[in-house]
Structure formats: C-alpha cells, structure tokens
Symmetry: C2
Subunit: 345 residues, 2 copies
C-alpha cells in the first residue's frame, strides 16, 4: 500500500532534505536578508495550505514576519489583485501545477517582490515563476492523500526559518526531528487498535492551537479525504467563540496538545469539553494531564521543543486515518472523487 | 424572540449607520490615505472574523490592500508578535472586550502603525487602543448569536472601502442595500417552510467563493451555534482539493451563489456535487441555473453588484437557521454552552 509506505518514508525524506538542501536554503536566506521584506504573502491549497499555516506561526514567532494567506480568486476571476509591495510572495504546492497558485507568484514577480516556490517538482510551472525554489525532494507520492510531502514542506519552512534567523541551536533541534519521527511511528500497532473504536464516527472536531493549528487542519483534512468523516478543525480559542455549542454527550473531539506555551489554555478547553460537555476525547500529547483526560491517548516523544512538534505530531494522526480508512472498508490509496493533482483557478 | 427581532432590524441598522457614520468614516479614510499603509493586519474571532474575511476580499479588490488575518496567540501566549510596519492594524469585535484582540491593537500602536477598531461599543477596551473607531451603532444585541452586528460590521467595512477609494458610484450602490435587505426578509415564510426539510440534518457543508466566502463561514457558524449542526464552510476551490471526497448520496450541501465573477466556477462545482455525487442542494442565488439545480432554492433580489451581495445574502441564511432551530426544538435566543461575550487570550 502506497500510503503506508509513504508514511514510513517520512524520517528518511526529512533526513534527505536536511542534508541535501541546507546549502541551497542558506543561500536563499542570505539573499532574502538583503531584501526589504515587510511581510509574507503565501498562496496554497489543501495540504499545502496547512503547511502555510505552520509558516504563519513559525515565521511570525521566530522571524518577525507577518503572513497573509492569499485569496487566489482576486488574482484570477476578479483580476483585481492587491498591490504587493515589499512582500515575500510564496507558493506552496506539491505538484506546482495549480494555475491559481502560479498566478499569485506571477503577480508578485510583476510587482518586483521576491518570489519563492516550495514544491516537489523543481520543473513545475510554479517553480518557473519563482526567484527561489526549495525542492522538497520527497520523491514521487503515489497515494492521493499527501503525507510525506506535507512533512517535507514543514521541514523546508523550518529550515528557511532557522537559516533566516541564523540560529544554530534551533538548527540543531531540527536535526533531531527524524529520530523523533521514527520513535512515534513505532506506535503503529497501538494506533491501529485505537482506530477500531472510531469505526462508526461520522463527524468530529479537531482542536489545536499556536504551532499545531496547522496539525489540527491537516489531521482534519486527512480524516475527510480518507475516511469521509466530516471533521472540522479549530483553534481552541475560536472554538469557544460559538462552535462549542455543537457538542453533545459522546461527540468525538480530537486534540493535538503537546507541551508548550499554549498547553495550559488548550488543556482548560479539553477539561471543559470532557467534563462539562461529556465529549469523547482522543488526544495526541506528551503531557500526562492531557493523556489521562482522554478516552484514547497517543503518547508523543518527550522533550521536543514546541515549535518543532508539528513535524512529529501529525504522524500518529496520519497512521490513525490510514487504519480508520481500512477499518471502514475504504481504499487508502485511492479516495473516491479526488485526484492527485487538482487544478483550480 | 430577540433573534427574530434583531434579524428584522437589519435594514434599519444599515440605514442608520449609513446616515450617522458617513462623515466620520470619510474623516478616517482621509487620514488613512495620508499614511503609508502597505497592508492590513486584522484581528477578530467568531462572527467578527467572518466580517474580516469580507474585508480581505473587498479591501484587496477595491483598495489594493493585501490583508493578513492575525494569529492572536503569537501576541499573547507566545509573546513573539510579528514585526508590524506600515500596516493598518484592525480589530473587529462586537463587544470590544476579548483580551487577545485588544493585545493585537496595542502591539500595532507600540509599533507606530495606524490602528482601527470596528465595534458596537465605542467605550470598550478595544476602542481605547485604537487611533480610529467606527462605532457600528447597532444597539444592544440580546440574542447570543450575532446577526445585526455582523451586517453592520460588513457595512462599516464597505463604507470605509468606498471612502478610501473615493468612489461615488459604489457609495450610491451601498445606499440601496437596506432596500434589498428588506426585500429578501419578505421571504421569511418561504424560508420557514424550506427549513422543515432539514429537521434531521446533523452535518453539512457550506460553499461560497470570493466575496461570499465570508457568507459561507457566517452561515456555517450560525448553523453550528443555533442548530448544533456540524457545518463546514469552504471556498469551492478548496473543497475540490480533498474535502469533496466526503460527499455521498444525499449529503446536504448549502451554497451562496449570487451572480458575479466567480458564479460560473461555483456553478460548475454545484453541478458536479449534484449530478455526479447526488448531494442534496440548498442554494441562495439570483441565477435560475443555480436555483433550478437545487432541491431548495432561495431567490435573491436581482441586479445587486457582486461586491455588495454578502450584506444581503446572509439574511436568508440567518432566517433559515432561526427557523431550523425552532423546528429542531432548541432555543434561538440562548444557545447551550456559549455566552454573548467570550473572552479568550
């Protein structure tokens, strides 16, 4: 099964990217530091958009860069793009094919902005429009649902962050990610067992916050693509502003809750949904308080710096979705309706 | 019932805002035109965040302003806010109370950026942090689910857009909105009948694109808050990049599809979900091709310019949610779990 193989390739893909692309990323960072960049304007769709959400937090927190997610239809159907000035315009796309994403980079280039493509195809139309290209070198991804290209995009985003900040300590932390990834993939059979319990789930919400807002979105997208479960992602703060009203006894809530700055706030929300609303909780965490609260817990490796956790915490979610897909009797490699390359304008 | 009253107050609230705040909005726009603003950085939660999505498209298309939605946790828990420079920092909040939104404006002010509050309380902490305040003058909103304050926020955003662009034609178009709003509210009893059909809906998706991406989010939030239906909003393009796989025979799909630049693209997606996936369609539109495709159709007034449609197309969605709430046996004024003012950090 391609999906299974590709999930397990991830530590190797990360190692490969770290060793083969570091020099190029350093070179790009050095050039970007010389340019007058006030914010990032990022275009992406689907899984790549979730990688963009990680960039939103990481480049904001560690590189001081505000980030705007592009609204591609303004560049295509409306033909009224905003005036990009002193922006770094970034396109993230596995295939580099989607015309709407390419058009955002083309407009950035016309406006004299620096343009960067993060893609698995250095010969794609997206790469052709970019001043700088980070090829994520993930190899062909055969399964329709993206896994290894997602974590490779996160790694590329993280490598660029440490290179821009010239931060050797964080760079050293990044080198440890493949080992943590390998460690968490050893939970495969535990996760397979956990997945049984969710055989008849039709709907759920997925909570994450801060750096792992991205993980909540990507976990939820895999649930939809592979298991056809209506899974809606939320920041735990946005969830309190209305959607929490949906919860009723036994409603399934998934949460990504590694240790870090937002942990206490997220734990408070989890306590509320578990104890006040009687929700059914699945938690991915390294903290006992969160795991003990859950009906199903997945233990993350201890000691990971929070900013790195999205590269590792998505792996058990991918495994969970794959096993749940099989349990529900669907084909993990070829979801109904969708194809690998989606071209939207 | 407060919700019912407040939905029907909307044309009057809009008229009031147009007449009483135009001068102040013109004054603010004149000052902002003199400042060096390269992009907008906007903080909001819940319904106000959906108003922010409208600003994302409108200020992008008509005022050339790229817009970044803030990630408040970087300002609060992480204490690592991005470096705001040459930004217009905007906070949108009915109550003006949520500490995380206030902290984004405070940081903008510290950085020397122009700061703007759009709020229903000109004496709120949010207003106190802002150089400029647009008081939406909606009067007290008693129902927990926001309706009149949402459309008043949209109106404030639209008024600022026409004032910044000094566009008298669009300004004249805005003056017509209260009449269109009144016209669509006359569909109340039709919508009440339509809502019966959805008594047992537990989950659905809501599609919109471009200007009405905001409407899809707000429709979906009202469904969650009031009817406890798991409703997930999508741009029709993002929907094609994975989530469409969820659809199965009879899955309820709601769509906001007024005439305009993105209509043909959205219609194509609606044809696909209706004809290929056998989804069950509710459509809010002024175009017969879209209405004929639907199981349930709500006819919008004809002749509205697309950029204005979000101020009108949300009204039948609010009515639909209210009637569905009653049909399902819930209390429209006081949803379970949530309160009017949510303070998150």
């Amino acid at each position: 099964m391609s999906l299974y193989t590709e999930i397990f390739e991830q530590p190797q893909v990360m190692t490969n990217l770290l060793s083969r692309q570091s020099q190029e990323v350093e070179r790009i960072a050095a050039e970007l530091r010389r340019r007058d960049i006030e914010y990032v304007f990022l275009a992406a769709r689907g899984t790549s958009d979730n990688a963009g959400r990680y960039a939103n937090y990481l480049w904001g927190a560690h590189n001081g860069l505000p980030l705007a997610l592009a609204t591609p239809s303004l560049f295509t159907y409306y033909n009224q793009p905003p005036l990009l000035k002193n922006a770094l315009v970034v396109g993230v796309s596995q295939s580099g094919q989607s015309p709407d994403i390419v058009s955002v980079l083309a407009e950035g280039r016309r406006r004299g902005c620096a343009t960067l493509a993060i893609t698995n195809d250095a010969h794609s139309p997206l790469a052709a429009e970019a001043d700088y290209v980070i090829d994520i070198l993930a190899g062909e991804e055969k399964a329709v649902a993206a896994t290894k290209t997602y974590t490779a995009q996160l790694m590329a985003i993280a490598m660029l962050s440490t290179a821009l900040a010239q931060d050797p300590q964080r760079r050293a932390e990044l080198e440890r990610v493949p080992a943590w990834a390998t460690q968490v993939l050893r939970l495969d059979s535990d996760i397979q067992r956990i997945a049984q319990r969710y055989r008849f789930v039709r709907q759920c919400v997925v909570l994450g916050r801060g750096f792992n807002y991205s993980t909540a979105f990507e976990f939820s997208l895999k649930l939809k693509e592979l298991t056809y479960t209506l899974a809606e992602p939320y920041s735990s703060a946005d969830f309190m502003h209305g959607p929490i009203a949906m919860l009723e006894q036994g409603f399934p809530v998934m949460a990504i809750a590694p240790d870090g700055a937002v942990f206490d706030a997220l734990l408070e929300v989890l306590r509320k949904v578990r104890l006040d609303q009687s929700a059914d909780l699945l938690v991915i965490s390294d903290r006992p308080e969160a795991l003990e609260l859950a009906h199903s817990g997945v233990q993350l490796p201890e000691g990971m710096p929070e900013w790195i956790t999205p590269l590792v915490s998505i792996l058990p979610a991918q495994l969970f979705c794959m096993h749940l897909t099989i349990t529900k009797g669907f084909n993990p490699d070829v979801p109904r309706t969708i194809r690998k390359v989606t071209e939207t304008i």
